[in-house]
Amino acid sequence: MDVLYFAWVRERIGLPKEKVETSAATVADLVEELRGREERYAAAFADLSAVRVALDQELSDFDAPLSGVREVAFFPPMTGG
């Protein structure tokens, strides 16, 4: 599964994209798994109320299932316009 990071989530984790092998059932499970990996992930996901997630380029929720998903993206609330 491709995992993408944008804005300060990308800066804290230190890379824009990586391949992750996971059996996490939901986004929340994936976040838990990443948090346990290294301090930089724990820092990026310290406050989930400030993080948004997209599954296959559609905005989604942390309790959404990951089955069949090819691309997960984490980023702060958007500031377009």
């Binding site: 380029q57 609330p77 958007m78």
Partner: protein
């Protein structure tokens, strides 16, 4: 309908003049342009906009389609830049054309409210060598609840 996501500047005058030009059935045309704004402090060196290629296109198409469902629009335009811009530069524009003014205004406001909080763009300010990500405003999230 045209949607453009690009790094290079756009020619606002030409885009405004060309949008819905010569349409006889649209009485009202609204444009909104977002400009890199420097605060009173005047110390903004640049604004940098990051986006999510692929998702951005999908999100803008979805927002545009939703506007066309809600209002009787003859034409619709969205241009949004990414990359580095100086204060005073135009970041983006929307255009809406409708038979009556209320629909053109409402559709343009709707597009802006959704672009602000639902299109994957992130702004970073460069000031005196330091940088900071622009934080989303509660008022922008609240603005969505009107629609």
């Amino acid at each position: 309908m045209r949607i453009a996501i690009q790094e290079e500047p756009f020619d606002f005058g030409a885009e405004a003049a060309g949008f819905a030009d010569g349409r006889h059935d649209m009485g009202a045309v609204v444009t909104f342009t977002g400009v890199v704004r420097d605060l009173a402090s005047g110390d903004l060196d640049a604004m940098e906009i990051e986006h999510y290629p692929g998702m951005t296109e999908k999100a803008l198409r979805k927002i545009a389609a939703e506007a066309q469902t809600r209002w009787d629009l003859g034409d619709l335009l969205i241009i949004h830049r990414y990359g580095r811009m100086a204060p005073g530069e135009r970041i983006m524009m929307v255009g809406t054309a409708a038979p009556h003014r209320r629909a053109a205004f409402e559709a343009a406001e709707f597009l802006m409210d959704y672009l602000k909080s639902r299109a994957p763009f992130w702004k970073k300010e460069h000031r005196k060598g330091a940088t900071g990500w622009v934080e989303a405003k509660d008022s922008d999230e609240a603005a969505l609840r009107r629609w």
